[in-house]
């Protein structure tokens, strides 16, 4: 089974909770999809459980966004496969908070 090292960029408040910098790496196996990345993230950083997706429904929290290769993929199915650029580490999987002004 092929495994991939995925770069994940986290928003500031989740960096603080997880006590990490802006970017972490997680290992995922094929078939590697968006949910695999979040599951691996929750395994490595259990304090993030429930902060990105709901504990029970596993749905992405409404005000969080997933960006991949300069595209907002938040509304793509959670089992969508990661693009090659993310699999080979040239692009990160970005978790970001929706913008709120005021």
């Amino acid at each position: 089974m092929t495994t991939h090292t995925i770069r994940v960029v986290l928003p500031f408040h989740l960096q603080t909770l997880a006590k990490v910098g802006s970017e972490v790496t997680v290992e995922v196996s094929d078939p590697a999809n968006y949910d695999c990345v979040i599951e691996a993230l929750e395994q490595a950083y259990p304090m993030l459980c429930g902060t990105i997706r709901d504990h029970v429904t596993k749905k992405r929290r409404p005000l969080l966004r997933y960006f991949v290769c300069s595209k907002d993929v938040s509304h793509d199915p959670a089992d969508s496969l990661l693009p090659q650029a993310v699999l080979n580490g040239s692009e990160p999987f970005i978790v970001w908070g929706a913008i709120a002004g005021g």
Binding site: M47, L64, G97
Partner: protein, 385 residues
Amino acid sequence: MSGVRVLVGTAKGAFILSADGKRDKWKVDGPLFAGWTVYHMKGSTVDTNRIYASQSSDWFGQVIQRSNDGGKSWEQPGGEPAPEFTGQPVGASNKFVYEGEVGTHMWYDGTPHPWEFKRIWHLEPSLTDVDVVFAGAEDAAVFKSNDGALTWKELPSLRAQRGSEWQPGAGGLAVHTILLDPTNPNRIYVAISAAGAFRTDDGGDSWKPINRGLRSKYIPDPDAEIGHCVHRLALHPSRPDVVFMQLHWNVMRTDNAGELWTNISGNLPTDFGFPIEVHPREPETVYVIPIKSDSEHYVHEGKLRVYRSRSGGNDWEPLTNGLPQENCYVNVLRDAMATDSLEESGIYFGTTGGQVYVSPDGGDHWRAIVHDLPRVLSVEVQTLP
């Protein structure tokens, strides 16, 4: 000399204000959890080093924090990395799951709306066990942890009290008040906006509405068994059958554990308000902060006045010494007033303008500990040995 630790939850983090027993020189620590909304922090009376905090965000949801050293350091119970892959994340301290069939409550438009967990409004540590803590949730439910907030389980029979008919107030449908009877560990009072007050006498296995005597003109049947917008409850530990209530409009008291309430608003300039507190040494001395309503929600006549009754209600006196008496338009929210239990009792409250006031003499004189915090959501006080 003993001292106090004031735990302040705000819209943008938490602060800890510390002083010795004189309460004239203060140390301010914070912001903790900067940028997050901290609805409530409360310390255990069993071990004053144990503090629980409810940290939440519209973006990232609910987080529960716990300190074992009086707030110097914090941890998310269950947030430590798993030693090896188990297939199941260990993080569960923010996992609040309603028991059984989730069901619906009533939405603002009168239609059924599924129960959805949003946040914890209030944390109430047990009076006897440092690892037991209750949590009041939005949407309204009570959760209990027996392991220091690592895991939570709902006490579901509360929602069985006609929960399908409960309707949110403007701030949401939330359990915001949890009072533990110090003489009877099985008796708990809770209050819900806008469902009313409820009591259990068996540790949460069963509940009953305790709203007889309340009268609310904003609901179709003003004397209904449920549907009242109770803002806050308070009791004195020496007389737990006597409970005081700030209702949406009217200040109330019961002398029989909620079986019947009577109106004690008396000469208050307005009977709307949020917090209510009882003097820690004088069971008949009660404090409220009248607020102009129904839509303004700032203090009456631009004057920040605490009202004190030394007779258990009806006769109220304004306490103004040291408080702004002109051009003041702040609110004081329901969980934002507290007392210490030093020999000369201190009263504390925080405002939506970011001030936290203390009176070290039971309300006669006030001074601001801090002026410019974010909007204050809650104030709790620990009296330290």
